[in-house]
Symmetry: C2
Subunit: 274 residues, 2 copies
Protein backbone atom coordinates (compact mmCIF):
# COMPACT_ATOMS: atom_id res chain seq x y z
CA UNK A 1 0.00 0.00 0.00
CA UNK A 2 0.93 3.67 0.08
CA UNK A 3 3.28 6.05 -1.69
CA UNK A 4 1.97 5.41 -5.16
CA UNK A 5 3.02 7.40 -8.21
CA UNK A 6 0.09 9.22 -9.76
CA UNK A 7 0.25 10.95 -13.13
CA UNK A 8 -2.26 13.74 -13.76
CA UNK A 9 -3.38 14.55 -17.29
CA UNK A 10 -6.15 16.73 -18.73
CA UNK A 11 -7.98 15.13 -21.68
CA UNK A 12 -10.67 17.87 -21.64
CA UNK A 13 -10.22 21.34 -20.15
CA UNK A 14 -7.09 23.04 -18.77
CA UNK A 15 -6.16 22.85 -15.09
CA UNK A 16 -5.75 26.17 -13.32
CA UNK A 17 -2.07 26.46 -12.19
CA UNK A 18 -2.97 27.96 -8.80
CA UNK A 19 -5.36 25.08 -8.16
CA UNK A 20 -2.57 22.67 -9.13
CA UNK A 21 -0.37 24.31 -6.50
CA UNK A 22 -3.09 23.85 -3.85
CA UNK A 23 -3.31 20.22 -4.93
CA UNK A 24 0.42 19.74 -4.26
CA UNK A 25 0.00 21.26 -0.80
CA UNK A 26 -2.99 19.06 0.05
CA UNK A 27 -1.26 15.92 -1.21
CA UNK A 28 1.94 16.89 0.60
CA UNK A 29 0.11 16.78 3.93
CA UNK A 30 -0.95 13.15 3.44
CA UNK A 31 1.28 10.88 5.53
CA UNK A 32 2.98 8.30 3.31
CA UNK A 33 1.11 10.14 0.56
CA UNK A 34 1.49 9.56 -3.15
CA UNK A 35 3.95 11.22 -5.50
CA UNK A 36 2.06 13.44 -7.90
CA UNK A 37 3.27 14.18 -11.40
CA UNK A 38 1.35 16.98 -13.07
CA UNK A 39 1.92 16.49 -16.78
CA UNK A 40 2.75 19.92 -18.30
CA UNK A 41 -0.01 19.30 -20.82
CA UNK A 42 -2.50 20.06 -18.00
CA UNK A 43 -1.60 23.74 -18.37
CA UNK A 44 -1.73 24.04 -22.15
CA UNK A 45 -4.56 26.05 -23.64
CA UNK A 46 -6.11 25.63 -27.07
CA UNK A 47 -9.50 27.34 -27.07
CA UNK A 48 -11.89 25.03 -25.26
CA UNK A 49 -9.20 22.44 -24.57
CA UNK A 50 -5.99 21.84 -22.58
CA UNK A 51 -3.98 21.64 -25.78
CA UNK A 52 -5.01 20.29 -29.15
CA UNK A 53 -6.20 16.70 -29.65
CA UNK A 54 -2.67 15.51 -30.42
CA UNK A 55 -1.19 17.06 -27.26
CA UNK A 56 -3.94 15.69 -25.02
CA UNK A 57 -3.80 12.18 -26.49
CA UNK A 58 0.02 12.16 -26.32
CA UNK A 59 0.05 13.23 -22.65
CA UNK A 60 -2.50 10.60 -21.70
CA UNK A 61 -0.42 7.92 -23.42
CA UNK A 62 2.81 9.25 -21.85
CA UNK A 63 1.46 8.46 -18.40
CA UNK A 64 -0.74 5.45 -19.17
CA UNK A 65 2.03 3.60 -20.99
CA UNK A 66 4.79 4.41 -18.48
CA UNK A 67 5.58 1.56 -16.03
CA UNK A 68 6.67 4.03 -13.34
CA UNK A 69 3.13 5.25 -12.69
CA UNK A 70 0.53 3.38 -10.64
CA UNK A 71 -2.41 5.54 -11.61
CA UNK A 72 -3.71 8.05 -14.14
CA UNK A 73 -5.78 10.75 -12.50
CA UNK A 74 -7.86 12.88 -14.81
CA UNK A 75 -7.48 16.54 -13.86
CA UNK A 76 -10.97 17.78 -14.61
CA UNK A 77 -14.09 17.55 -16.75
CA UNK A 78 -15.39 19.98 -19.31
CA UNK A 79 -15.43 18.55 -22.80
CA UNK A 80 -12.86 16.79 -24.93
CA UNK A 81 -12.27 13.14 -23.95
CA UNK A 82 -14.38 11.67 -26.75
CA UNK A 83 -12.23 13.49 -29.32
CA UNK A 84 -9.08 11.60 -28.29
CA UNK A 85 -10.53 8.31 -27.00
CA UNK A 86 -10.13 6.27 -30.19
CA UNK A 87 -6.49 7.36 -30.59
CA UNK A 88 -5.65 6.73 -26.93
CA UNK A 89 -7.31 3.32 -26.79
CA UNK A 90 -5.56 2.22 -29.95
CA UNK A 91 -2.09 2.91 -28.53
CA UNK A 92 -2.17 1.56 -24.98
CA UNK A 93 0.58 -0.88 -24.05
CA UNK A 94 0.72 -3.64 -21.43
CA UNK A 95 1.68 -1.23 -18.62
CA UNK A 96 -1.52 0.72 -19.24
CA UNK A 97 -3.54 -2.33 -18.24
CA UNK A 98 -1.83 -2.55 -14.85
CA UNK A 99 -2.76 0.85 -13.51
CA UNK A 100 -5.79 2.63 -12.12
CA UNK A 101 -7.73 5.40 -13.90
CA UNK A 102 -9.86 7.84 -11.93
CA UNK A 103 -12.20 10.62 -13.02
CA UNK A 104 -15.85 11.41 -13.79
CA UNK A 105 -18.12 13.61 -15.91
CA UNK A 106 -16.55 14.08 -19.38
CA UNK A 107 -13.81 11.59 -18.35
CA UNK A 108 -16.54 8.92 -18.57
CA UNK A 109 -15.84 8.62 -22.32
CA UNK A 110 -12.29 7.43 -21.54
CA UNK A 111 -13.26 5.37 -18.49
CA UNK A 112 -15.85 3.53 -20.61
CA UNK A 113 -13.41 2.73 -23.38
CA UNK A 114 -10.61 1.81 -20.94
CA UNK A 115 -12.95 -0.53 -19.06
CA UNK A 116 -14.05 -2.09 -22.37
CA UNK A 117 -10.32 -2.75 -22.99
CA UNK A 118 -9.91 -4.51 -19.63
CA UNK A 119 -8.33 -1.65 -17.66
CA UNK A 120 -9.07 -0.88 -13.98
CA UNK A 121 -11.14 2.30 -13.86
CA UNK A 122 -13.12 4.18 -11.24
CA UNK A 123 -15.62 7.04 -11.12
CA UNK A 124 -14.64 9.56 -8.48
CA UNK A 125 -13.25 13.00 -7.56
CA UNK A 126 -10.72 14.87 -9.68
CA UNK A 127 -8.09 17.52 -8.86
CA UNK A 128 -10.38 20.31 -10.12
CA UNK A 129 -12.88 19.44 -7.37
CA UNK A 130 -10.60 21.48 -5.07
CA UNK A 131 -12.44 24.51 -6.46
CA UNK A 132 -15.77 23.29 -4.98
CA UNK A 133 -16.95 24.20 -1.48
CA UNK A 134 -15.58 21.41 0.71
CA UNK A 135 -13.60 20.14 -2.26
CA UNK A 136 -10.51 19.33 -0.20
CA UNK A 137 -12.38 16.37 1.33
CA UNK A 138 -13.18 15.07 -2.17
CA UNK A 139 -9.54 15.32 -3.25
CA UNK A 140 -8.29 13.69 -0.05
CA UNK A 141 -10.81 10.86 -0.59
CA UNK A 142 -9.45 10.29 -4.10
CA UNK A 143 -5.82 10.46 -2.93
CA UNK A 144 -6.49 8.06 -0.10
CA UNK A 145 -8.12 5.58 -2.45
CA UNK A 146 -5.47 5.90 -5.17
CA UNK A 147 -2.64 5.68 -2.63
CA UNK A 148 -3.86 2.98 -0.27
CA UNK A 149 -7.19 1.59 -1.55
CA UNK A 150 -9.02 3.11 1.44
CA UNK A 151 -12.37 1.26 1.59
CA UNK A 152 -13.89 4.29 3.37
CA UNK A 153 -13.68 6.18 0.08
CA UNK A 154 -16.06 3.82 -1.69
CA UNK A 155 -19.72 4.39 -2.56
CA UNK A 156 -21.52 2.60 0.30
CA UNK A 157 -23.90 0.40 -1.75
CA UNK A 158 -20.84 -1.33 -3.26
CA UNK A 159 -20.62 -3.24 0.03
CA UNK A 160 -23.20 -5.68 -1.37
CA UNK A 161 -20.52 -6.98 -3.71
CA UNK A 162 -22.22 -6.47 -7.08
CA UNK A 163 -20.07 -5.30 -9.97
CA UNK A 164 -20.75 -1.64 -10.68
CA UNK A 165 -20.15 1.22 -13.06
CA UNK A 166 -20.98 4.93 -12.84
CA UNK A 167 -21.53 7.64 -15.42
CA UNK A 168 -22.83 11.08 -16.04
CA UNK A 169 -26.17 10.56 -17.84
CA UNK A 170 -25.43 12.71 -20.88
CA UNK A 171 -21.95 11.24 -21.31
CA UNK A 172 -23.28 7.67 -21.17
CA UNK A 173 -26.06 8.61 -23.60
CA UNK A 174 -23.43 9.83 -26.08
CA UNK A 175 -21.24 6.73 -25.90
CA UNK A 176 -23.85 3.97 -26.09
CA UNK A 177 -23.59 2.19 -29.41
CA UNK A 178 -20.09 3.56 -30.09
CA UNK A 179 -16.77 1.70 -29.83
CA UNK A 180 -16.40 3.11 -26.29
CA UNK A 181 -19.36 1.20 -24.83
CA UNK A 182 -18.31 -1.44 -22.27
CA UNK A 183 -20.16 -4.66 -21.44
CA UNK A 184 -22.32 -3.82 -18.40
CA UNK A 185 -24.00 -7.22 -18.02
CA UNK A 186 -24.87 -7.89 -14.35
CA UNK A 187 -23.56 -4.46 -13.33
CA UNK A 188 -25.28 -1.99 -11.05
CA UNK A 189 -25.20 1.21 -13.08
CA UNK A 190 -25.03 4.47 -11.12
CA UNK A 191 -26.03 7.67 -12.90
CA UNK A 192 -25.57 11.31 -11.97
CA UNK A 193 -26.23 14.63 -13.67
CA UNK A 194 -25.67 18.36 -13.26
CA UNK A 195 -27.02 21.57 -14.81
CA UNK A 196 -29.72 20.07 -17.00
CA UNK A 197 -33.44 20.68 -17.41
CA UNK A 198 -35.74 17.96 -16.09
CA UNK A 199 -37.29 17.61 -19.56
CA UNK A 200 -33.80 16.94 -20.96
CA UNK A 201 -33.18 14.34 -18.23
CA UNK A 202 -36.47 12.70 -19.19
CA UNK A 203 -35.38 12.67 -22.86
CA UNK A 204 -31.96 11.25 -21.97
CA UNK A 205 -33.62 8.53 -19.89
CA UNK A 206 -35.80 7.61 -22.91
CA UNK A 207 -32.59 6.98 -24.84
CA UNK A 208 -30.63 5.31 -22.02
CA UNK A 209 -33.44 3.00 -20.96
CA UNK A 210 -34.18 1.93 -24.55
CA UNK A 211 -30.53 0.92 -25.00
CA UNK A 212 -29.95 -0.48 -21.52
CA UNK A 213 -33.11 -2.62 -21.58
CA UNK A 214 -31.12 -5.07 -23.71
CA UNK A 215 -27.86 -4.98 -21.73
CA UNK A 216 -28.67 -7.31 -18.81
CA UNK A 217 -27.99 -4.74 -16.06
CA UNK A 218 -28.45 -5.81 -12.43
CA UNK A 219 -30.16 -2.46 -12.00
CA UNK A 220 -29.82 1.32 -11.88
CA UNK A 221 -29.05 3.57 -8.92
CA UNK A 222 -29.54 7.31 -9.13
CA UNK A 223 -26.84 9.59 -7.81
CA UNK A 224 -27.37 13.27 -7.22
CA UNK A 225 -28.88 15.44 -9.94
CA UNK A 226 -27.74 18.90 -8.95
CA UNK A 227 -28.20 22.47 -10.17
CA UNK A 228 -31.33 21.52 -12.14
CA UNK A 229 -32.20 24.34 -14.55
CA UNK A 230 -35.62 25.93 -14.08
CA UNK A 231 -38.26 24.26 -16.25
CA UNK A 232 -41.02 26.52 -17.57
CA UNK A 233 -43.73 25.32 -17.13
CA UNK A 234 -42.86 23.21 -14.12
CA UNK A 235 -42.06 19.54 -14.82
CA UNK A 236 -44.52 17.29 -12.98
CA UNK A 237 -41.98 14.73 -11.77
CA UNK A 238 -38.67 15.02 -9.94
CA UNK A 239 -35.49 13.30 -11.11
CA UNK A 240 -36.09 10.10 -9.15
CA UNK A 241 -39.67 9.74 -10.41
CA UNK A 242 -38.39 10.21 -13.98
CA UNK A 243 -35.70 7.54 -13.61
CA UNK A 244 -38.07 5.11 -11.86
CA UNK A 245 -40.68 5.45 -14.61
CA UNK A 246 -38.25 4.79 -17.48
CA UNK A 247 -36.62 1.90 -15.57
CA UNK A 248 -40.03 0.35 -14.98
CA UNK A 249 -40.97 0.70 -18.66
CA UNK A 250 -37.68 -0.97 -19.72
CA UNK A 251 -37.92 -3.68 -17.02
CA UNK A 252 -34.65 -2.52 -15.43
CA UNK A 253 -34.65 -2.86 -11.61
CA UNK A 254 -34.44 0.53 -9.88
CA UNK A 255 -32.30 0.00 -6.80
CA UNK A 256 -32.46 3.38 -5.03
CA UNK A 257 -30.01 6.25 -4.65
CA UNK A 258 -26.21 6.29 -5.02
CA UNK A 259 -23.76 8.54 -3.19
CA UNK A 260 -22.21 10.11 -6.28
CA UNK A 261 -22.61 13.46 -7.99
CA UNK A 262 -20.97 16.67 -9.18
CA UNK A 263 -20.09 17.69 -5.61
CA UNK A 264 -17.57 17.27 -2.80
CA UNK A 265 -19.39 14.20 -1.42
CA UNK A 266 -18.86 12.23 -4.63
CA UNK A 267 -17.79 8.73 -3.49
CA UNK A 268 -15.62 6.36 -5.50
CA UNK A 269 -17.09 3.65 -7.73
CA UNK A 270 -14.53 1.19 -9.11
CA UNK A 271 -15.97 -0.52 -12.19
CA UNK A 272 -16.61 -4.26 -12.30
CA UNK A 273 -15.88 -6.98 -9.79
CA UNK A 274 -13.63 -6.11 -6.85
CA UNK B 1 -54.87 18.22 -55.73
CA UNK B 2 -56.13 20.82 -53.26
CA UNK B 3 -58.69 21.09 -50.47
CA UNK B 4 -57.19 18.44 -48.29
CA UNK B 5 -58.32 17.71 -44.75
CA UNK B 6 -55.55 18.30 -42.25
CA UNK B 7 -55.76 17.25 -38.60
CA UNK B 8 -53.56 19.15 -36.15
CA UNK B 9 -52.39 17.48 -32.93
CA UNK B 10 -49.81 18.39 -30.29
CA UNK B 11 -47.67 15.45 -29.12
CA UNK B 12 -45.32 17.78 -27.18
CA UNK B 13 -46.23 21.26 -25.93
CA UNK B 14 -49.59 23.07 -25.94
CA UNK B 15 -50.66 25.30 -28.83
CA UNK B 16 -51.51 28.87 -27.89
CA UNK B 17 -55.24 29.44 -28.70
CA UNK B 18 -54.68 32.92 -30.14
CA UNK B 19 -52.02 31.55 -32.45
CA UNK B 20 -54.46 28.81 -33.49
CA UNK B 21 -56.94 31.54 -34.40
CA UNK B 22 -54.30 33.29 -36.54
CA UNK B 23 -53.63 29.95 -38.22
CA UNK B 24 -57.31 29.64 -39.19
CA UNK B 25 -57.22 33.14 -40.70
CA UNK B 26 -54.03 32.45 -42.67
CA UNK B 27 -55.34 29.12 -43.94
CA UNK B 28 -58.72 30.65 -44.75
CA UNK B 29 -57.06 33.04 -47.19
CA UNK B 30 -55.56 30.19 -49.25
CA UNK B 31 -57.59 29.68 -52.44
CA UNK B 32 -58.90 26.12 -52.60
CA UNK B 33 -57.13 25.83 -49.27
CA UNK B 34 -57.28 22.88 -46.94
CA UNK B 35 -59.79 22.20 -44.19
CA UNK B 36 -58.06 22.41 -40.84
CA UNK B 37 -59.19 20.45 -37.83
CA UNK B 38 -57.51 21.56 -34.60
CA UNK B 39 -57.89 18.62 -32.26
CA UNK B 40 -59.05 19.99 -28.86
CA UNK B 41 -56.10 18.16 -27.29
CA UNK B 42 -53.85 20.90 -28.74
CA UNK B 43 -55.13 23.21 -26.00
CA UNK B 44 -54.87 20.89 -23.02
CA UNK B 45 -52.23 21.67 -20.43
CA UNK B 46 -50.50 19.22 -18.12
CA UNK B 47 -47.32 20.83 -16.82
CA UNK B 48 -44.77 20.65 -19.61
CA UNK B 49 -47.18 18.94 -22.00
CA UNK B 50 -50.37 19.49 -24.02
CA UNK B 51 -52.22 16.96 -21.87
CA UNK B 52 -50.89 13.80 -20.28
CA UNK B 53 -49.26 11.00 -22.27
CA UNK B 54 -52.61 9.20 -22.69
CA UNK B 55 -54.39 12.31 -24.01
CA UNK B 56 -51.59 13.13 -26.46
CA UNK B 57 -51.28 9.57 -27.77
CA UNK B 58 -55.07 9.24 -28.09
CA UNK B 59 -55.38 12.50 -30.05
CA UNK B 60 -52.59 11.52 -32.42
CA UNK B 61 -54.27 8.17 -33.07
CA UNK B 62 -57.71 9.85 -33.47
CA UNK B 63 -56.43 11.76 -36.47
CA UNK B 64 -53.86 9.29 -37.83
CA UNK B 65 -56.32 6.40 -37.89
CA UNK B 66 -59.27 8.37 -39.31
CA UNK B 67 -59.81 7.87 -43.07
CA UNK B 68 -61.31 11.36 -43.43
CA UNK B 69 -57.97 13.08 -42.93
CA UNK B 70 -55.26 13.40 -45.58
CA UNK B 71 -52.55 14.66 -43.26
CA UNK B 72 -51.45 14.92 -39.64
CA UNK B 73 -49.77 18.24 -38.94
CA UNK B 74 -47.83 18.45 -35.70
CA UNK B 75 -48.68 21.71 -33.94
CA UNK B 76 -45.32 22.51 -32.38
CA UNK B 77 -42.15 21.24 -30.81
CA UNK B 78 -41.00 21.42 -27.23
CA UNK B 79 -40.62 18.03 -25.63
CA UNK B 80 -42.90 15.02 -25.38
CA UNK B 81 -43.09 12.95 -28.59
CA UNK B 82 -40.70 10.22 -27.44
CA UNK B 83 -42.93 9.56 -24.42
CA UNK B 84 -45.89 8.53 -26.61
CA UNK B 85 -44.14 7.18 -29.71
CA UNK B 86 -44.17 3.49 -28.77
CA UNK B 87 -47.88 3.61 -27.90
CA UNK B 88 -48.80 5.53 -31.06
CA UNK B 89 -46.78 3.32 -33.40
CA UNK B 90 -48.27 0.18 -31.89
CA UNK B 91 -51.84 1.24 -32.63
CA UNK B 92 -51.75 2.69 -36.14
CA UNK B 93 -54.24 1.23 -38.61
CA UNK B 94 -54.19 0.96 -42.42
CA UNK B 95 -55.53 4.52 -42.90
CA UNK B 96 -52.56 5.87 -40.96
CA UNK B 97 -50.25 4.57 -43.68
CA UNK B 98 -52.08 6.52 -46.39
CA UNK B 99 -51.59 10.00 -45.01
CA UNK B 100 -48.85 12.59 -44.71
CA UNK B 101 -47.17 13.62 -41.44
CA UNK B 102 -45.42 16.97 -41.14
CA UNK B 103 -43.35 18.52 -38.36
CA UNK B 104 -39.79 18.98 -37.08
CA UNK B 105 -37.70 19.41 -33.94
CA UNK B 106 -39.16 17.22 -31.14
CA UNK B 107 -41.65 15.80 -33.70
CA UNK B 108 -38.63 14.01 -35.22
CA UNK B 109 -39.11 11.18 -32.71
CA UNK B 110 -42.53 10.45 -34.24
CA UNK B 111 -41.46 11.11 -37.83
CA UNK B 112 -38.60 8.62 -37.41
CA UNK B 113 -40.83 5.90 -36.03
CA UNK B 114 -43.60 6.56 -38.56
CA UNK B 115 -41.10 6.39 -41.42
CA UNK B 116 -39.69 3.15 -40.00
CA UNK B 117 -43.28 1.82 -40.17
CA UNK B 118 -43.64 2.77 -43.84
CA UNK B 119 -45.61 6.02 -43.42
CA UNK B 120 -45.12 9.15 -45.55
CA UNK B 121 -43.44 11.77 -43.42
CA UNK B 122 -41.79 15.14 -43.98
CA UNK B 123 -39.63 17.58 -42.00
CA UNK B 124 -41.02 21.09 -42.27
CA UNK B 125 -42.83 24.05 -40.69
CA UNK B 126 -45.45 23.70 -37.99
CA UNK B 127 -48.40 25.88 -36.91
CA UNK B 128 -46.40 27.31 -34.00
CA UNK B 129 -43.94 28.82 -36.50
CA UNK B 130 -46.53 31.61 -36.90
CA UNK B 131 -45.00 33.08 -33.75
CA UNK B 132 -41.62 33.58 -35.52
CA UNK B 133 -40.67 36.74 -37.41
CA UNK B 134 -41.85 36.03 -40.98
CA UNK B 135 -43.53 32.87 -39.73
CA UNK B 136 -46.59 33.33 -41.95
CA UNK B 137 -44.46 32.42 -44.97
CA UNK B 138 -43.38 29.20 -43.25
CA UNK B 139 -46.96 28.24 -42.46
CA UNK B 140 -48.16 29.09 -45.98
CA UNK B 141 -45.31 26.95 -47.37
CA UNK B 142 -46.44 24.01 -45.25
CA UNK B 143 -50.11 24.50 -46.16
CA UNK B 144 -49.31 24.75 -49.83
CA UNK B 145 -47.29 21.54 -49.70
CA UNK B 146 -49.85 19.63 -47.61
CA UNK B 147 -52.74 20.87 -49.75
CA UNK B 148 -51.33 20.63 -53.26
CA UNK B 149 -47.83 19.13 -53.10
CA UNK B 150 -46.31 22.46 -54.20
CA UNK B 151 -42.78 21.62 -55.42
CA UNK B 152 -41.69 25.20 -54.61
CA UNK B 153 -41.97 24.32 -50.92
CA UNK B 154 -39.25 21.68 -51.12
CA UNK B 155 -35.66 21.93 -49.92
CA UNK B 156 -33.76 22.77 -53.16
CA UNK B 157 -31.09 20.04 -53.04
CA UNK B 158 -33.86 17.43 -53.23
CA UNK B 159 -34.00 18.24 -56.95
CA UNK B 160 -31.11 15.81 -57.45
CA UNK B 161 -33.53 12.96 -56.73
CA UNK B 162 -31.73 11.26 -53.84
CA UNK B 163 -33.87 9.88 -51.02
CA UNK B 164 -33.59 12.15 -47.99
CA UNK B 165 -34.42 12.55 -44.33
CA UNK B 166 -34.02 15.49 -41.94
CA UNK B 167 -33.67 15.78 -38.19
CA UNK B 168 -32.73 18.00 -35.34
CA UNK B 169 -29.28 16.77 -34.22
CA UNK B 170 -30.12 16.20 -30.57
CA UNK B 171 -33.39 14.45 -31.40
CA UNK B 172 -31.66 12.10 -33.86
CA UNK B 173 -28.92 11.44 -31.31
CA UNK B 174 -31.56 10.35 -28.79
CA UNK B 175 -33.39 7.98 -31.12
CA UNK B 176 -30.47 6.13 -32.73
CA UNK B 177 -30.40 2.56 -31.50
CA UNK B 178 -34.00 2.72 -30.24
CA UNK B 179 -37.08 1.17 -31.83
CA UNK B 180 -37.76 4.55 -33.50
CA UNK B 181 -34.67 4.47 -35.74
CA UNK B 182 -35.52 4.19 -39.45
CA UNK B 183 -33.37 2.60 -42.15
CA UNK B 184 -31.46 5.51 -43.73
CA UNK B 185 -29.42 3.49 -46.22
CA UNK B 186 -28.64 5.57 -49.33
CA UNK B 187 -30.38 8.63 -47.82
CA UNK B 188 -29.04 12.17 -47.75
CA UNK B 189 -29.40 13.09 -44.09
CA UNK B 190 -30.01 16.78 -43.33
CA UNK B 191 -29.31 18.01 -39.82
CA UNK B 192 -30.22 21.24 -38.05
CA UNK B 193 -29.87 22.57 -34.52
CA UNK B 194 -30.86 25.49 -32.32
CA UNK B 195 -29.83 26.95 -28.96
CA UNK B 196 -26.89 24.66 -28.23
CA UNK B 197 -23.23 25.26 -27.35
CA UNK B 198 -20.68 24.43 -30.07
CA UNK B 199 -18.96 22.01 -27.68
CA UNK B 200 -22.30 20.17 -27.27
CA UNK B 201 -22.73 20.07 -31.05
CA UNK B 202 -19.24 18.59 -31.31
CA UNK B 203 -20.15 15.96 -28.70
CA UNK B 204 -23.43 15.15 -30.47
CA UNK B 205 -21.55 14.77 -33.76
CA UNK B 206 -19.16 12.30 -32.07
CA UNK B 207 -22.20 10.17 -31.22
CA UNK B 208 -24.08 10.66 -34.50
CA UNK B 209 -21.07 9.99 -36.72
CA UNK B 210 -20.07 6.86 -34.78
CA UNK B 211 -23.55 5.42 -35.30
CA UNK B 212 -24.12 6.70 -38.82
CA UNK B 213 -20.74 5.45 -40.08
CA UNK B 214 -22.35 2.02 -40.25
CA UNK B 215 -25.67 3.05 -41.81
CA UNK B 216 -24.75 3.42 -45.48
CA UNK B 217 -25.82 7.06 -45.79
CA UNK B 218 -25.39 8.79 -49.16
CA UNK B 219 -24.10 11.73 -47.14
CA UNK B 220 -24.87 14.51 -44.69
CA UNK B 221 -26.02 18.06 -45.39
CA UNK B 222 -25.95 20.70 -42.68
CA UNK B 223 -28.96 22.94 -42.21
CA UNK B 224 -28.87 26.09 -40.11
CA UNK B 225 -27.48 25.98 -36.59
CA UNK B 226 -29.05 29.04 -35.02
CA UNK B 227 -28.97 30.87 -31.69
CA UNK B 228 -25.66 29.20 -30.75
CA UNK B 229 -25.01 29.70 -27.02
CA UNK B 230 -21.80 31.57 -26.13
CA UNK B 231 -18.90 29.20 -25.55
CA UNK B 232 -16.35 30.25 -22.92
CA UNK B 233 -13.55 29.96 -23.93
CA UNK B 234 -14.33 30.36 -27.62
CA UNK B 235 -14.66 27.14 -29.64
CA UNK B 236 -12.06 27.05 -32.40
CA UNK B 237 -14.34 25.71 -35.15
CA UNK B 238 -17.72 26.79 -36.45
CA UNK B 239 -20.63 24.39 -36.88
CA UNK B 240 -19.79 23.45 -40.47
CA UNK B 241 -16.11 22.74 -39.63
CA UNK B 242 -17.29 20.52 -36.75
CA UNK B 243 -19.67 18.53 -38.94
CA UNK B 244 -17.13 18.22 -41.77
CA UNK B 245 -14.45 16.90 -39.38
CA UNK B 246 -16.65 14.20 -37.84
CA UNK B 247 -18.03 13.19 -41.28
CA UNK B 248 -14.50 12.86 -42.59
CA UNK B 249 -13.45 10.72 -39.62
CA UNK B 250 -16.47 8.43 -40.11
CA UNK B 251 -16.05 8.32 -43.91
CA UNK B 252 -19.49 9.87 -44.46
CA UNK B 253 -19.61 12.20 -47.49
CA UNK B 254 -20.28 15.82 -46.49
CA UNK B 255 -22.48 17.28 -49.21
CA UNK B 256 -22.79 20.94 -48.20
CA UNK B 257 -25.55 23.03 -46.65
CA UNK B 258 -29.31 22.37 -46.51
CA UNK B 259 -32.07 24.97 -46.46
CA UNK B 260 -33.66 23.84 -43.19
CA UNK B 261 -33.59 25.17 -39.64
CA UNK B 262 -35.52 26.51 -36.68
CA UNK B 263 -36.65 29.57 -38.65
CA UNK B 264 -39.21 30.89 -41.10
CA UNK B 265 -37.13 29.80 -44.12
CA UNK B 266 -37.29 26.12 -43.13
CA UNK B 267 -38.02 24.23 -46.37
CA UNK B 268 -39.81 20.89 -46.61
CA UNK B 269 -37.94 17.58 -46.74
CA UNK B 270 -40.15 14.57 -47.51
CA UNK B 271 -38.39 11.40 -46.33
CA UNK B 272 -37.34 8.68 -48.75
CA UNK B 273 -37.87 8.32 -52.48
CA UNK B 274 -40.34 10.72 -54.14
Amino acid sequence: MGTKRIGIVAPAGRLDPLLAERLRLVAGDVEHGPHLFLHPQCFLSDGHFAGDDEARARAFLDVANDPHFNAVWIARGGYGSCRIAERVLGELNGYAREKLYLGYSDAGFLLAGLYAKGCRVAHGPMPADLARPGGEAAVLRALSWLNSADPGALEPSLADGSPAAAFNMVVLSHLLGTALEPDLTDHVLMLEEVSEYLYAIDRTMFHLSAHLALRGLAGIRLGRVSDILPNDPVFAENEEEIVKRWCSKAHIPYLGRADIGHDADNKIVPFGWR
